[in-house]
Structures are given as C-alpha cells and as structure tokens.
C-alpha cells in the first residue's frame, strides 16, 4: 500500500509542480496518471522514490515513511521501488544481462557488483525474468543493439529484478509504435497481476490508459482534478484535466491497432475502453 499525503513540490526556480496531492494505491492496483505536459506527472513519481526532493507532504510505502529517509536508508527504500522510464534509460554500453542485474545493485556490495559476481539466485532470477519478457536469447547482447520495444522489456525486467513492492512507470510507451505500446502495457498489467504489485503509470495516451489501467488520477498544473475509474472519465472530466477540446472525437481506438474490433467512428460521445 502506497500512501501519498498532501505532497507539494516547488522547484528552486519558483515553479510549483505539485499542490497538495493526496491519494493511496492499494496492492495490485494499476493507477494511470494523466494530465497535460508540465502538469507534474514526472515530478510526482520522482518524489516517491526521491529522485526529486518533495517540498512538503508525506509518502508512505508499507510501514516506511519515505520522505524522512537519508543515505543508506533511502537506498534501501529505493531498492523496494522499481522504476521504468520513458526512453528506457538502459545503460547502453552494458549487456542486457548487466542491465537486468543492475536491479540488484541495492542488495549487493560494491565489490560484488564491480567484479560482476552476483549471487547465483540473482542470476537465475535475471534469466527467469528475461525469459518472462521474451528476451532470453538476447542476454549477452549490448543494450543498444535492441529495438525500442525490446529495450523497454529489459527496463521492465530490471525493475522486477529489484523484487519491488511498487512500480513507478514514467511514460512507458512514449517512444514506441502503437502495437508495441499495447504489448508493453499488457506486459505491465500482467506482471503487476502476477505479483500483486501496485503501480503508478504516467501516461499521456488517454485511450491507451483507459484500456489498461484500473484507475485514473488526473493532474492539472500540479493539482489533482480527477480520481476515479477509467469509465468515469467523461467529457467534463477531460475538460477539467486538459482544457476545452472537442472530446467526443477522442475514442479508444484512435491509434488503430491490431486486436481491437473496428468500431464506427463517433458511435458514442465518449468511447470507453473495454
């Protein structure tokens, strides 16, 4: 269970990114965080694992108050939180295996990681995860030899190698084609379900979000303006999050891809993802 209480962030430049954001994510729930660019989505998930320092408010993961931690305590908390990034953020010159094993860095000593002598259990688990994301044959390739979708799978395997209690996912599909985007979202859904993992997914593709997440939180200018099931995201809610637009033209299959049955355009005012 993740609890965010009145989280605020004002950058040194004076820009306020978050204004008293409060919500909880229970186990196994996948929350989509939507909102226009600059609404504070990235800041919010980075405030949770303290890659960005929040200005005020609290973040609790299980029994741990994350906002109070420093040094070793913070590193030990970070290893419980897996993070998946927009541009994959793999270390490109390392092999796929090293990238997955880097998810164990918080658990092993510097010398073990320096000499690449990770515990056998970690290595076995890394192979299992690579098999799970369908990249077992690519373990010894360099990360920059993979395609976008494959890299994001490595990113997911790295996050899962941490054996996390929470997944933070920052725009996982922003640089992927529509079909790969869906495959990645489906994979995220599945791994969260398998492990009963809570997840916060930053996503700007509203139809894709509606299709795959359990719940949507909408941010606008750092303020929480929506928090409900994807079905409840109607035109009024979209206007509250993004501003005025002809929302009835937005429908779930706007990105037109493989496994969705063809639907007549504008069949309903707001198409709700199945």
């Amino acid at each position: 269970m993740l609890e965010i209480t009145q989280l605020c962030k004002t950058y040194a430049t004076g820009d306020t990114a978050l204004r008293e954001v409060t919500f909880r994510v229970p186990r196994g729930q996948m929350v989509g965080l939507i909102g226009p660019s600059g609404a504070g989505k990235s800041t919010l998930i980075r405030c949770i694992n303290r890659l960005v320092e929040p200005s005020a408010g609290r973040v609790r993961l299980g029994d741990t108050e994350l906002t109070r931690l420093h040094g070793r305590g913070l590193r030990q908390a970070r290893r419980r939180i897996g993070m998946i990034f927009q541009e994959y953020a793999l270390v490109e010159r390392l092999t796929v295996m090293e990238n997955v094993l880097s998810g164990r860095l918080g658990y092993v000593s510097f010398w073990r990681s320096f000499t690449r002598r990770f515990p056998g259990r970690d290595i076995e688990n890394a192979y299992r995860l690579l098999d799970r994301v369908g990249l077992l044959d690519h373990a010894d390739k360099r990360a920059d030899a993979l395609s976008g979708g494959q890299r994001q799978r490595v990113g997911i395997a790295r996050a899962l190698a941490q054996e996390p209690e929470l997944l933070l996912v920052d725009e996982p599909t922003a640089s992927l084609d529509p079909r790969t985007s869906r495959q990645i979202m489906r994979l995220l859904r599945e791994v969260c379900a398998e492990r009963d993992l809570p997840a916060i997914v930053n996503i700007h593709d509203v139809p894709l979000a509606r299709r795959f997440v359990d719940r949507l939180v909408g941010l606008r200018a750092g303020r929480q303006v929506f928090d409900n099931a994807p079905d409840a995201l109607d035109e009024a809610a979209l206007t509250a999050i993004y501003g005025t637009e002809e929302w009835h033209t937005l429908h779930a299959d706007a990105d037109g891809v493989e496994d969705a049955p063809a639907r007549p355009a504008r069949a309903r005012p707001v198409e709700v993802a199945s």
Partner: protein, 269 residues
C-alpha cells in the same frame, strides 16, 4: 478576398550583436588603428629577415642530409629516455586524472569537492609545459625524472578536464535509472558513468600519449632529458645533419602513434 497588402520585397538582416552603428564603426576603426600601431612597434627590418632566411637555408641543407650514424648513441639514449618518460607519465597522468576528473564533474560530487578539483585542473592548465619543466628541473635537477613529473602534471590538466566535461555530458536518464535501483555512489560511477565515458577516456589517453611524446622533445631543451636534450645539443654544436635526423625520427614516431591511436579509437566506437 481582401485587397492585397503591399509587403516589402527587400529585407536586410537586423544587426544583432551591436545595435548602435556609432559603436560598430568606433570598434572597427579602433581595431584597425591598433593593428597599424602594433605592426609599427615590432620594428620589422628587411635586412634581419633576409639574414634569418639565409640561416634557415643552412638548417634546411643540414636537414636534407640527415646524419643518423655519427651521434647514433646519443640519439638512441635520448629516444629511450623520451619514450620511457612519455609512457610512464601518461600512465601516471591517467591514474591521477580519473579521480580528479570525477571530482571535477558537477553532476556527481558536492560543490566543495567540485571547486577543489576544478582548481587543480585550472592550475595545471594555466602553466605551460616549459614553465613547469623549468621549475621542476630547478627542483629535481637535470634529467628525465623532471620530465616525467612535468608531463604527469600537464596530463592531469588535460585528461581530468576533458574527462570531467565528458562526465557532465552523459545521458542523465541512465544514471537516474541506476540511482533508482538503490545503487550506492560507487556503484553509480561504475554502472552508469563508466560505461558512458570509457571510450572517450581511452581515446583521450591515446591522444595524450602522442602529445606527451611531442612535449618530451620540447621540455628536453630546458633540461628535462630525453630526445629534446639530444636535439638541443646537436643544434648547439651546429650539427644540423644530426638535428635533421632527430627531427625525422620525432616526426615518424608521432605519425606512428597518431595512426595507431586513430585506429584504436575507431575500433572503440
């Protein structure tokens, strides 16, 4: 359709750097006037130029008939000294530059460490090799040890600065991802920073090796040993044929190092 508006058909780029035309002209006239005065102060003298060219022709005749044999023993010793100090100074320079370069990268360390390391780099870069060599020869006496110290010190300014700049330009998202796994600072350096800057560090080290060899020939002239000392002696004895041989050897070695280092760098990329 509304009536066509008359748009201008001529356009000139507006001045962006200095807007006031009076300032522009004042600067132009000032620069030209300074150039004329400066040339006047140099006391250009046709007779001296002619004399110098004649002496140059004398050098050239000597260089065209290089004499490798009569001073071969001196040349050989100078070369061995130069190559030894080049290699040892480059290795020592790399070993010292890596920690200083990491410390001089703004994105990795606290501000006091950053400032201290940048100060070391600035000091090393401010002093040209010859000036350092003059000091160190005075401290440690003539010979290759002073040369080794000089080249090591100069390598730090070069390698640590360029390594620090390379570290500051790395892809921040990769280090963010490693930090997010709960990695310690040392693990961050080893997993996120080192893979990104390693090819650059190797390339810079090879480049520095070739600079150090050329510098070893220069600092020999002020007493820091090596092939430069041999060259200096040859010129002082008016043995331009031996000097020509030494210069040819230096050119060939620099070309070899340059050629092989560019090969290695291409392989790394």
């Amino acid at each position: 359709m509304s009536a066509p508006t008359a748009y201008p058909s001529r356009w000139r780029r507006p001045p962006t750097l200095i807007r006031d035309p009076r300032w522009r002209w004042a600067l132009r006239v000032g620069a030209l006037g300074y150039l004329v005065l400066a040339l006047g102060a140099l006391e250009l003298d046709a007779a001296r130029i002619a004399e110098g060219l004649e002496r140059g022709a004398h050098f050239l005749r000597g260089f065209l008939q290089p004499d490798f044999t009569s001073r071969w023993r001196d040349i050989q010793q100078g070369l061995i000294e130069s190559l030894t100090m080049t290699l040892t100074a480059t290795v020592a320079g790399i070993l010292l530059s890596v920690p200083i370069g990491i410390g001089a990268a703004r994105n990795l360390v606290a501000r006091p460490i950053y400032l201290a390391c940048r100060a070391i780099v600035a000091l090393s870069r401010a002093l040209q090799e010859i000036i350092i060599a003059i000091f160190l020869v005075a401290m440690f006496g003539f010979g290759p040890f002073a040369g080794f110290m000089t080249l090591t010190f100069a390598s730090i300014g070069f390698l640590a600065k360029l390594l620090a700049d390379a570290i500051e330009e790395i892809d921040a998202s990769q280090s963010e991802a490693i930090r997010a796994t709960g990695a310690s600072w040392w693990q961050l350096i080893h997993y996120a920073v080192q893979p990104q800057v390693m090819p650059r560090l190797i390339g810079l080290s090879l480049y520095r090796l070739d600079i150090n060899f050329r510098e070893s020939a220069v600092i020999g002239i002020v007493g820091a040993g090596g092939i430069g000392a041999t060259l200096n002696t040859a010129i002082e004895r008016y043995e331009y044929d031996s000097a020509g041989a030494i210069l040819l050897i230096i050119i060939v070695i620099v070309l070899l190092v340059e050629y092989s280092s560019s090969h290695v760098r291409k392989y790394l990329q």
